[in-house]
Subunit: 191 residues, 2 copies
């Protein structure tokens, strides 16, 4: 996660980011993305606390890498300019086009929207971090979300004085990038 | 889905598209994307037949919109330049970072990679269509994929003489785009 400098995002640029997300392709033109903008400092703090709980749980689950994980900056909820919760809406079962055998295509579409926002933000020198360290039911309860909805991202958005040269987890020696040639096969799966 | 003109994609540009995908962010730097490039005409035909089966199943499931659905161009497997199957690899359960409560974040990362490829393709005047009309077990069997893997997209990639002015499903009156302002809420869910 970037280190944010707290500078406010002008409303016009914020709109551009949401619009970039909204221009993403979606399965059956379902547009299954919803964004909850957090402007209430109390709600932001509650979200931070929910993430902090899961950060501890994840650290424990990682066993021997617990301390290493705890030293990483994995969220920027209290220091970013804008916190957005990205979610899938309820009543999705009526959308059959492209989802009869692959219902999870709604998440795929929402992810495309977030990636669009990510790239649009970078053009504006705005950093974005996707936090998935949280317990979905806790976020749903906090934000009054309906039963069939599903929060999938807490987005930390804001200006930063410095972008990482490499992915942060590589700079911190958590994991290594590989070459793209390792990700492609021809005609048949190869282990 | 675009109408492809069949012109071959130069190998260098094909590499750029895969590389753009591979530059996507991923949960815990997991890079959970795999692409199977289909160069065998027989395998391509088998994929087409699997999609055609699901196209009929989906049409039936749509009930009163069956005929309307059947008139749409929902795939371009036989006329595009490159067919790629995008999949999640097996042995994903060891990746806990960002996935303890949200294991589906691997699909989110793969979707970000595909969206990157989509945008990179557009820059080259190459169209891309994401087909999710297929039964995953049939694709797995055809391509010898391991049990824990999961195919999520058949990507049809190729040059086109004309891009749609609006999303194809809007041009064909299947669905209507909405304004992005409908997708954003503040601090609390609103129906």
């Amino acid at each position: 996660m970037r280190h944010f400098n707290g500078k406010q995002i002008p409303e016009k640029i914020f709109g551009k980011l949401i619009n970039a997300a909204h221009l993403a392709p979606s399965v059956g033109l379902m547009e299954p993305w919803r964004f909850i903008r957090i402007t209430d400092a109390h709600v932001r703090k509650e979200i931070h606390d929910i993430v902090e709980q899961e950060r501890i749980q994840t650290a424990r689950a990682l066993g021997e890498r617990e301390d290493e994980f705890l030293s990483l900056k994995v969220e920027g909820i209290m220091d970013c300019s804008e916190v957005l919760v990205a979610a899938l809406p309820d009543k999705r079962q009526k959308h059959i086009f492209g989802r009869r055998t692959l219902p999870e295509m709604d998440l795929a579409s929402l992810s495309c929207a977030i990636q669009n926002m990510w790239l649009a933000a970078r053009v504006e020198n705005i950093g974005l971090g996707w936090v998935s360290l949280f317990d979905p039911p806790q976020i749903k309860q906090l934000l009054g979300m309906p039963e069939g909805s599903h929060p999938v991202a807490i987005l930390c958005v804001g200006y930063t004085d410095k972008f990482y040269d490499e992915p942060m987890l590589q700079e911190e020696n958590w994991a290594k990038r590989t070459a793209w040639e390792n990700k492609i096969m021809t005609n048949r799966w190869i282990d």
